[in-house]
């Protein structure tokens, strides 16, 4: 596989090339004071010179003193929006009169997607949702439709936010590419570390001296793209610069979630008083589930058009934080906020492993930053760990 170094200008050629090849290119850009991922017409829209400032209950942007294109950590809401859109039609029933109807499946998307600027933890999140939607009982048509032909241009992190903890999970901040495939770099993998979705190209933004991008191809498509782009061979200096960048990123991450024994710790502490404590703060606003790149829960909605001739069966994001979520028979199963926060955290970090053989958290920190009251899952877990209520059995 090819690798090399290109200028920020050559990145523009990549966007044009992808658009030329029929892709809808999606990438980071600044909107309403945050970074979002949306259709990208040109690299001019990238968040040049911005860094994100994230802290519990706080997400904002700040000017950098350089022209970094990828000088932030992660966008407000992930790539999930594209592959598993907030609202999706699954099928529609078309009336044939006389109380009879036929069913039409939603059309497959007509344009392949290309994501530019996918972080290592985000590749892991896509890998997790692949397990849910592609490798379950039935391949999900909508997800598979967007996922098929998806082209991924990953970018290693050089500016992690204070909320990041990929190093605890084993999902970032870098990516190693070799003959065996692609793996997270800069952190150790655990038994529950999710495998990343395979990127086609991996970029590393180098800011020492000349502003440049180290590019490594990881698939044939990536190799083919790189062949069409202007680049030069990488020098040992470039590689050393990447290593230093990665090391600095790794060192900048100080949030920690101890994953050792986490599954049993949480499931063995379902009666822990900390659940009451966090429930007293949690607003059950659903923000954490909406920004989380792995949360997959949905509900369905049925509507008819004005003529009554079309009945739409649509799916939209749902959250385990709502009361209606567990509505069964006369009442809901999870009526208290305590039980709903407990469901969220235990699912994410424990039962997810039972269900999908991987943790449901990639350490992106979004739920911490976007929680209006700053609830931090790493802190909640630490509190439970500090006062582990399990009976010690010899």
């Amino acid at each position: 596989m090819r690798s090399g170094v290109m200028t920020p200008t050559a990145l523009e050629s990549l966007v044009l090339l992808l658009r030329d090849r029929g892709y809808r290119v999606v990438g980071p850009q600044v909107r309403d004071g945050t970074i979002v991922y949306d259709e990208l017409a040109s690299t001019a829209a990238l968040p040049r010179g911005w860094r994100d400032v994230q802290a519990p209950g706080r997400a904002g942007l700040e000017r950098r003193d350089d022209d970094a294109l990828f000088g932030y950590a992660v966008g407000a809401s992930g790539w999930k929006r594209e592959l598993f859109p907030p609202r999706q039609r699954l099928w529609e029933a078309v009336s044939d009169g006389d109380a009879s109807f036929h069913v039409v499946e939603a059309p497959e998307p007509d344009q392949p997607l290309a994501f530019l600027g996918v972080r290592p933890c985000e590749l892991a999140a896509i890998g997790i949702q692949d397990r849910v939607f592609l490798h379950g009982l039935a391949e999900d048509r909508v997800y598979a439709g967007h996922r098929r032909g998806l082209l991924l241009v990953a970018v290693e992190c050089h500016a992690p936010a204070a909320t990041c903890f990929c190093t605890s999970i084993g999902t970032g901040p870098g990516l190693d590419v070799d003959a065996d495939g692609v793996r997270a770099a800069g952190s150790a993998a655990h038994a529950t570390t999710p495998a990343p979705a395979v990127p086609d190209l991996v970029l590393t933004e180098l800011l020492d001296g000349e502003h440049r991008l180290l590019v490594r191809a990881a698939t044939d498509e990536g190799d083919d793209l790189l062949a069409a782009l202007e680049h030069r061979e990488a020098t040992t200096g470039d590689l050393a610069a990447r290593a230093a960048t990665l090391e600095a990123a790794q060192a900048a991450i100080d949030r920690h979630l101890e994953v050792d024994g986490l599954h049993d710790l949480l499931l063995g502490n379902l009666a822990h008083p900390r659940w009451d404590d966090v429930a007293a703060r949690c607003l059950a606003c659903t923000n954490c589930t909406l920004v989380c790149p792995t949360c997959f829960c949905s509900t369905t909605e049925d509507t008819t058009d004005l003529t009554g001739e079309h009945a739409y069966h649509e799916r939209r994001w749902d959250s385990c934080f709502t009361l209606e979520f567990t509505h069964t028979g006369p009442a809901s199963v999870r009526t208290s906020t305590r039980s709903r926060y407990r469901q969220w955290l235990t699912h994410k970090l424990a039962t997810w492993v039972d269900q999908f053989d991987t943790t449901g958290c990639v350490g992106c920190g979004r739920c911490i930053a976007w929680c209006p009251v700053g609830i931090d899952l790493t802190e909640e877990v630490a509190a439970i760990r500090a006062t582990d209520g399990r009976e010690v059995t010899a």
Binding site: L137, H313, G329, Q355
Partner: protein, 281 residues
């Protein structure tokens, strides 16, 4: 465990239209709706369920209640409790409904072979076990005793009365019916269904039990069976939770690590006892 025949993917995700052939009123709020599939009939295993769709209103998880030996006549028995189920109760023959399925793990009839088969049903809970009863009777020689214990709130809440009459007259199955509160004219037994458990003749050490009803009823049934000496691992329950997708992707039916739609809805009691014992899980 019994597993459904594999279906093409879109059959699991997309509803297909079926014309309603008969609507039978079971009680004031329960109907049985029969459809006759035009193409390939949907084969199912007793205990499996379908997502039944009403045009423009939505879907509900409903167990198949017909004879699995005749998939060309598929029935669902539905109690009106809300939007979709009320609309299903108001359907007329000739109307079209959507069905996708079947889903889930059914009753372990094979595991009960050579043993006493005891079936305990509360209220509309008779519907999901009816296919198992019919399948067991069709291969009667495979089981030792077959006992059916049915409970309902009142005589007017009993479903499948024709079947109950027929089975009561059928010496191959031992039928016991009880109601929580009697009305004038009821000469049968009065009391909750669990009160039948100590009295019905079966060999607790060689019995497999299928139970279906409200969760509390299944708890008390499990307790009464344990007292009688039945191994909890031989007690099977079918669970209900909110369900939207039926294929393990909407997250609604989770009970701890379990997706009811995919891993159930039928479970051996020890598989779920601890999970059900945890409040608000």
């Amino acid at each position: 465990m019994t597993v459904a025949p594999e279906l093409p993917v879109s059959d699991l995700l997309t509803s297909r239209p079926y014309v309603v052939s008969t609507v039978r009123q079971q009680t004031h709020d329960i109907v049985t709706i029969d459809v006759r599939p035009e193409g390939e009939p949907i084969a199912f295993v007793p205990g499996q369920f379908d997502m039944v769709y009403v045009y423009g209103t939505g879907e509900a998880a409903i167990s198949a209640s017909s004879d699995p030996a005749t998939p060309e006549l598929l029935s669902h028995t539905i109690r009106a409790v809300g939007g979709v189920t009320q609309a299903l109760n108001e359907l007329q023959p000739g109307a079209t409904i959507g069905i996708r399925g079947p889903y889930g793990r059914g009753w372990p009839l094979a595991a009960a072979e050579g043993r006493d088969l005891v079936i305990v049903a509360g209220g509309i809970g008779l519907a999901p076990v009816r296919p198992a009863i019919l399948a067991a009777l069709a291969q009667r020689e495979r089981f030792s005793r077959i006992a059916l214990l049915v409970g309902a709130r009142s005589p007017r809440d009993l479903v499948f009365r024709d079947d109950l009459d027929r089975w009561t007259a059928d010496r191959r199955i031992d039928v016991h019916v009880t109601v929580d509160s009697a009305v004038r004219g009821w000469s049968g037994r009065v009391g909750v269904v669990t009160t039948l458990i100590p009295r019905v003749p079966f060999d607790p050490e060689h019995a497999t039990v299928l139970t279906c009803g409200p969760e509390t009823m299944m708890w008390f049934t499990g307790e009464a069976l344990r007292k009688r000496g039945v191994d909890p691992a031989q007690v099977y329950v079918t669970l209900e939770r909110n369900m939207k997708c039926a294929v393990g992707t909407c997250g609604h039916c989770q009970l701890g690590p379990v997706f009811l739609c995919r891993d159930g809805p039928v479970f051996a009691w020890p598989e779920v006892a601890d999970l059900l014992g945890e409040r608000e899980l």
